[in-house]
Subunit: 243 residues, 2 copies
């Protein structure tokens, strides 16, 4: 069976957390909305499954994953499913709940990152909420960034061994997601993050370790990895970064 | 075994979604932070588990649930656990993923409700972000409210039978959460919601059906139900409602 991933074709966005898991699992998948319209793919194929006319239980929004007869929406839910199927989650119930809990905390983190450039309305342009974005981004960099990264740093510090993972002795899907968050924060807020990285060396080291894994390194070097840009979650607006 | 729920003692907040599931399940639980400090309960007991010194895998934030040796954080994760244990979730894998997906969509909805009064910083007072809140609330009422409620209305409309539930033929935990969202929206935005309810009769009917269930009705009438107030997610600031 080949998975079908449905996500906006021009951004990493939330879909990227799913792509990283699929790549690390070496799962067969097609990134449907990046395919050709004339071959039945592209954005129309995505919109068709969203509109609820052909699907009994349509997702609220992308990303969603078609796995045979299943259509699974919501990023942490897709990862819960993939993690268990592909050895990217702990095996025990307690471990799986912990991995899901970590992923949900990362999901909260991502919402706050997104809202630094869209504090008023996701349907408005950044330019129409720039003043509010300045205020929100300042609070994010001053208060929230260290709250989240400090949390993950403490978890890794408390974990036994030098090369710690977030949930157990080997890599699980929240590790892939934390890699993506660090990569995205470096893109969006290079000045703030550079100053902050000294305070969370274990998080940075985990990022580097994930990036060096053969399948992830190959993916990052491929054209399957969409570059960061100013339409995704992590956007580089210099005026929102530290001075 | 008696569950221990840890949540802020003076608000419904995210903890309420867990309380509703515990009440419907008639599970034995203690709402720890509402207990007495001199008996080892109260807010200090909550903070102790958050600080990471006594717990190997501390949660990022309340609510969290102690279930024997397990400490489970993040509302949708707690409900995933309770739903399966107490017959409040579908039995099939597909059904459980669908219930989790619904709960994650409700979680996104709740973040947007919260941010109507706190668009800039959760650590600042409402009064310090009132102008931004007006803008964000207006967009929420104009665009987002109908997007979310319309989605749930369509799901219920597509479900067979007159008295539909969101996931299968009987009540599951996302139904309890949707009840709470409707109750909260009515409190926070009475004018906007009153106008909107005609467009989502099935959602309103589901709310009423949940409220009438004997265990939920008994809970709502008890002093275990904390009244809505201006410290929680759903706050009534008349200036944010429709004119």
């Amino acid at each position: 069976m080949r998975y079908e991933l449905y996500y906006w074709p021009t951004i990493q966005g939330r879909g990227e957390f799913v792509r990283l898991a699929l790549e690390e699992a070496q799962a067969a998948y097609v990134d449907v909305a990046r395919g050709l319209k004339k071959e039945g793919a592209g954005v129309p194929a995505l919109l068709k499954l969203l509109d609820g006319k052909t699907v009994a239980q349509p997702p609220f929004a992308p990303p969603f994953l078609k796995a045979g007869p299943l259509i699974i929406g919501q990023t942490p839910n897709i990862l819960l499913f993939l993690g268990q199927r592909h050895g990217l989650a702990p095996r025990s119930e307690a471990g799986r709940l912990w991995a899901n809990q970590l992923q949900l905390t990362i999901a909260d983190f991502i919402v706050e990152v997104h809202d630094t450039h869209h504090p008023i309305a996701s349907g408005l342009y950044y330019e129409d909420q720039r003043e509010e974005a300045r205020r929100r981004a300042a609070d994010f960099l001053e208060v929230r960034l260290s709250r989240y990264l400090g949390y993950f740093e403490r978890l890794l510090a408390a974990s036994p061994g030098k090369a710690a993972w977030l949930a157990g002795r080997s890599l699980t899907y929240p590790d892939l997601s934390l890699f993506q968050v660090v990569a995205g924060l470096r893109y969006a807020f290079p000045r703030a993050v550079q100053r902050f990285e000294r305070k969370c060396p274990r998080v940075v080291e985990l990022h580097d370790r994930v990036a060096a894994r053969p399948r992830i390194a190959a993916y990052l070097a491929s054209d399957r990895r969409i570059p960061f840009n100013e339409q995704g979650i992590f956007r580089h607006y210099p005026e929102l970064d530290l001075a």
